[in-house]
Each structure stands twice: as C-alpha cells, then as structure tokens.
C-alpha cells in the first residue's frame, strides 16, 4: 500500500512502507536518460534499483534499500539523495555536451603532440606523388605542365599571336587607347 512522504509531492513520489520501497517519476525533458543512468548506477550498491517507462517522456525509478526495513524518514532521505545525484549527473552531462568540441580538439592535439614531429627518414620515405583529391579544372596543375611547348611548330604558332598583340597600343582600363593625357 502506497503512502505519501512528508515534504515530497504525492503525485511524484509514492512509498510502500510495508515493502520498504519508494518510487518516483522523472520527466526526461528535465533529466536526460544519461543522468538517470548515472544516478541509478551510483545507487546500485545500496539499493535495488528498477527503472520503468510508464509513458513516453517519463521514467519511473523504484528504490528498495538492500539492508533493513526502512521507515518513512529513511525513504525520504534516499529520495532526496537520489534527486541530488540526479541533478549533478544532469548538470555534468550538459557541461560535457557543451564542451564536446573543445574536449575533442584538445584530445586530438594531445595525441598529435605525443606522436612527436616526423623524423627525416619518415619524410624521406613519404610518398608525395599520391593524389589526395580530384582536380577536374586543373587548378593544381603547374603553369609549366599546362602550357609547356610540345614541339617547335606549336611553339611558333603560340608565340605569333602574342607578338601581334604586343604590337597593338595598350588599352587603358577605361576603354581609351594610349594614355588619357
């Protein structure tokens, strides 16, 4: 038979003094499942912990002390301690989530630093010829490779237009020929 516990809301916490158990419902919008797991894990050495999901977004926690038959004060103390632990776990989970990017960056830097700089032998044996990305527009191709002279004939044909162009007077950026003055 369930009975209320003084100082705790009756619609959230129900105690069964005959069985020595106390149960309460947690809203997962307030306390995430990770926090419930964390707080429950801390209590499994002194209580029998049973979790259930009576409805979506709700988790029901039942606690029964392993030793002795607890009275109402003992059950109230257990609920209070669990609530405090739950709050701490929820806060730690939130901090971890907020700082996840920083933690990952620092860990990566620490691991990279622990590896040390590459030795000269490692640099000498490194394969720089491996193409690491596709270059369909030829942006990474050098000027010499892109416009190199294939033979003497092509070189003359290529050079002629540039010579003709160079004989023309230079146009100013505004469209006029020669100097504006």
């Amino acid at each position: 038979m369930t009975s209320p516990i003084a100082g705790l809301p009756t619609d959230v916490v129900q105690a069964d003094l005959g069985a020595g158990t106390v149960a309460f419902t947690i809203d997962t919008a307030t306390y995430p499942l990770e926090a419930v797991y964390g707080a429950s894990y801390i209590f499994i050495d002194r209580c029998f912990v049973l979790l259930d999901r009576p409805a979506d977004g709700k988790i029901r926690v039942s606690l029964a002390p392993k030793k002795g038959v607890p009275d109402a004060d003992a059950l109230r103390s257990i609920v209070g301690e669990f609530g405090n632990e739950l709050l701490g776990c929820a806060w730690r989970a939130q901090i971890t989530q907020q700082n996840r990017a920083v933690i990952e960056a620092l860990t990566t830097q620490a691991l990279a630093g622990a590896m040390g700089p590459p030795s000269l032998d490692e640099l000498a044996s490194f394969d720089f010829t491996e193409e690491s990305f596709e270059d369909p527009l030829g942006i990474a191709t050098s000027w010499e490779d892109k416009y190199k002279k294939k033979d003497g004939k092509d070189a003359t044909a290529t050079a002629a237009p540039s010579a003709a162009t160079s004989s023309q007077p230079a146009e100013s950026p505004t469209g006029g020929k020669g100097d504006a003055a």
Binding site: F48, L50, R53, K66
Partner: protein, 72 residues
Amino acid sequence: MIELRLHRDLYRGTAVDEAVKVFARHGTFALSEQPEHWVVRVESKTPARERQLAGELGNYALGLTVKQGGAT
C-alpha cells in the same frame, strides 16, 4: 515467484541475458519477451531470497546496460 519486467528502452537485452547467466546457480529463471519488456520469472527457496535475487539481477542488468552505453 517474482516476475521482473525490464523495459526494452531502458535495459539492453544482452545485459539481461548475461545477468541471468551470472545468477543461474542461485535460483530458477524463466525468460520471455513482451512487446515492451524483457520478462524474467525468478524462483528460489524463500520469498525473501527471491526478492533479493530479483533485485540483484535487476541491478546487474542495469549496471551492464549503463556500462555498455545504454539500451540501444
């Protein structure tokens, strides 16, 4: 006999199996599945022992689930 109902969203199935294996020599267990729960029926010599056995089995399954990062 105590019927322990462990919600599938909160307890990993492999953790429940492992817990039953660990406590198998302390009592008699019958496993079954329901749409939302893993159901374990626990039988032992005395009601007090059954209660303790069911509680410890639930704790063990919960601890394994937490260590493995959750039910899913």
